[in-house]
């Protein structure tokens, strides 16, 4: 293994709780909530193998689905699976946020930076390994947790439909495609990473710079700047780009680590106006969606700013002398 792989492993050792356990626990909680909901619902209706709605047996209903209906059902399941992973994504975002805030601060606080610096590892490699841990390692663990969650949910659905006399293999497993959903989410990892660069750079810069409480530096500075701009906008007749500042500076510095926060919801809505059915939601994560944000200058300007701040963090780690 080369030095960089060892550095990644080191980050994993230190942050096993956040990288591995947090998304697994989030997935477990979602599964638990669904299970409780399902069993509460089922205990309220009669449970024999011949559930009837208006005299029609559900089992018969399911076996007479047309191929088109099956397709729609699969799409519906896929969309459900996709959005069921949202708590895992939010957990990942929170973990990443605090991981980055501590990434260059904790080692200064406990002075272990002197141990790391006694080894032949450059500051460039060290800082980049932390960027990679935040953009690749942590998302891959979250992805695995999301996959486990999806399979768990499908098993849960199968149990439910079996209870009502429906064959789970023909209805659920033949139509849902959890692997393709996971594959699509995996394709979003690079996009998420590029989009997250301004937040990564800003949080790491604060982490490398702050003598104490990097959290306050990271949050109060942009919020205070935004507030100043807003006040200036309110009390003067000059038209300051107040909303623009909050959306493109403050939010980008603080919240870009949230997976999918690049999504342009207005454009998505326009595209959905003309189509019906759940399939359209799955299409929301097709190549158009992925390449969409990459074509605008926004993401690249943000990425450049992020790279600049990461470079500054590397410089600070090399020359800062307060231990």
């Amino acid at each position: 293994m080369n030095t960089f792989a060892w550095l990644l492993k080191r980050e994993y050792w230190e942050h096993r709780g956040g990288f591995l356990w947090a998304p697994l626990i989030a997935a477990g909680v979602v599964l638990l909530v669904f299970t409780i909901a399902a069993f509460t619902g089922m205990s309220n209706i009669n449970l024999n193998g011949n559930a009837l709605i208006n005299g029609v047996r559900l089992g018969d209903l399911a076996s007479t689905l047309t191929p088109e209906q099956k397709l729609q059902m699969g799409a519906g399941l896929d969309v459900g699976l996709f959005f069921a992973g949202a708590p895992v994504a939010i957990t990942l975002a929170i973990v990443t946020f605090f991981y980055l805030l501590g990434s260059l601060y904790d080692e200064r606080r406990d002075r272990s930076i002197l141990f790391w610096k006694s080894l032949p590892v450059s500051d460039l490699e060290t800082v980049l390994s932390k960027v990679a841990a935040a953009t690749v390692v942590a998302p891959l663990f979250a992805l695995a947790a999301a996959l486990a969650l999806m399979l768990g949910l499908l098993i849960l659905f199968s149990v439910i439909v079996s209870v009502y006399g429906i064959n789970p293999f023909t209805t659920i497993w033949a139509n849902a495609s959890p692997l393709s959903v996971i594959g699509k989410i995996a394709m979003l990892i690079p996009l998420n990473a590029i989009w997250a660069l301004p937040s990564i750079g800003w949080l790491m810069l604060c982490s490398a710079f702050a003598k104490r409480v990097p959290f306050l530096w990271a949050t109060l500075l942009p919020v205070a700047a935004g507030t100043c701009v807003s006040i200036f906008d309110a009390v003067t007749h000059l038209r300051v780009p107040n909303d623009w500042f909050w959306q493109h500076i403050v939010a980008r510095l603080l919240f870009s680590v949230l997976p999918g926060s690049w999504m342009d919801f207005d454009a998505l809505e326009r595209r959905m106006d003309h189509v019906d059915g759940p399939q359209v939601l799955v299409n929301a994560i097709d190549m158009n969606t992925i390449l969409g944000p990459l074509s605008g200058p926004n993401i690249w300007i943000g990425a450049a700013a992020g790279v600049g701040m990461i470079a500054l963090a590397i410089w600070l780690r090399r020359w800062r002398d307060d231990s």
């Binding site: 002075r111 141990f115 610096k117 002398d321």
Partner: protein
């Protein structure tokens, strides 16, 4: 022998105070150098400059490299223990060994495990579960398993009990040091290192005020125990220091001829601690 460290006109200021004030010195290979000075004298700054951890003015070459520009290459040949308790608390013994073995080309896992076998440390143990002494044992085992040409120790035994301190210097001397290696130590526990040092440097207010080999120091400094009747004669020879013990005066002389001093009373070799106290007189006044 080529110089391992060569410093010329090294200066570093923190605001109004000079941590290093136009300092020049040379450290030869195969020596164990004690860098001794009161708190705030500039010891740590000097070491940080050598290790490329801080910027400074002047010329400094460590193993022929500039620590500011070639820090990465330098750290393949140089190792340091900065202070106790700098190992991260979450680290396990096995992880520490794996990581250092992974990133350091000159680390010997087999050696490290041999050193650790003599301690109570277990592979699964985390640093946060260890006592201060055990943390230093781990750190020392890691560092001694690295075949470095220069080892820098900054207060390595701070806060350890005497058993750990003795063991630390003993293993350093027996299992690590040889004529290819150079060790630079700063410490306040002068008594414990004076028998292993080959060279001594006193630093005060950012200046090197004494830089000599231990042999030269033995030649140069003499301590004389003088009866009260000869005390005035001894004072006339301008001693470096004077202290009273059991009604007799003990004078410390720099450079006077030994036979002449022997006439005044019983002469002996001063300890580094006494030499230090006499030279640093008035530092905090």
């Amino acid at each position: 022998m080529s110089a391992v460290v060569q410093a010329r006109n090294l200066s570093k200021r923190f605001g109004a105070t000079a941590a290093l004030d136009d300092v020049s010195f040379t450290i030869e290979a195969g020596r164990i150098v004690g860098l001794i000075g009161p708190n705030g004298a500039g010891k740590t700054t000097a070491l940080k400059a050598i290790l490329g951890l801080t910027d400074f003015q002047g010329d400094l070459s460590v193993l022929g490299m500039d620590p500011r520009k070639q820090r990465h290459e330098l750290m393949q040949q140089v190792c340091f223990i900065a202070d106790v308790a700098v190992l991260p608390r979450w680290l396990r013994v096995s992880e520490a060994i794996d990581f250092v073995a992974g990133v350091h080309p000159r680390f010997s896992r087999e050696k490290c495990e041999r050193f650790l076998a003599r301690t109570k440390l277990k592979p699964r143990m985390r640093v946060r579960e260890m006592s201060k002494g055990m943390i230093v044992q781990l750190h020392l085992a890691l560092v001694m398993a690295i075949d470095a040409r220069l080892l820098v120790l900054d207060e390595p035994t701070l806060g350890l009990d005497i058993l750990y301190r003795k063991e630390f210097y003993q293993s350093l001397l027996n299992d690590y040091f040889d004529e290819q290696k150079t060790i630079v130590i700063t410490t306040h526990q002068v008594e414990e290192v004076e028998h292993i040092l080959t060279d001594l440097m006193f630093i005060r207010d950012g200046k090197i005020i004494l830089d000599a080999s231990m042999d030269a120091i033995a030649d140069r400094f003499t301590e004389v125990m003088v009866n009260p009747d000869k005390a005035a004669a001894a004072r006339a020879l301008q001693p470096l220091g004077e202290r009273q013990i059991f009604g007799k005066s003990i004078f410390l002389f720099d450079g006077n001829e030994k036979p002449r001093l022997a006439e005044l009373g019983e002469t002996r070799q001063p300890s580094i601690a006494d030499l230090f106290v006499a030279t640093m007189k008035g530092t905090y006044a």
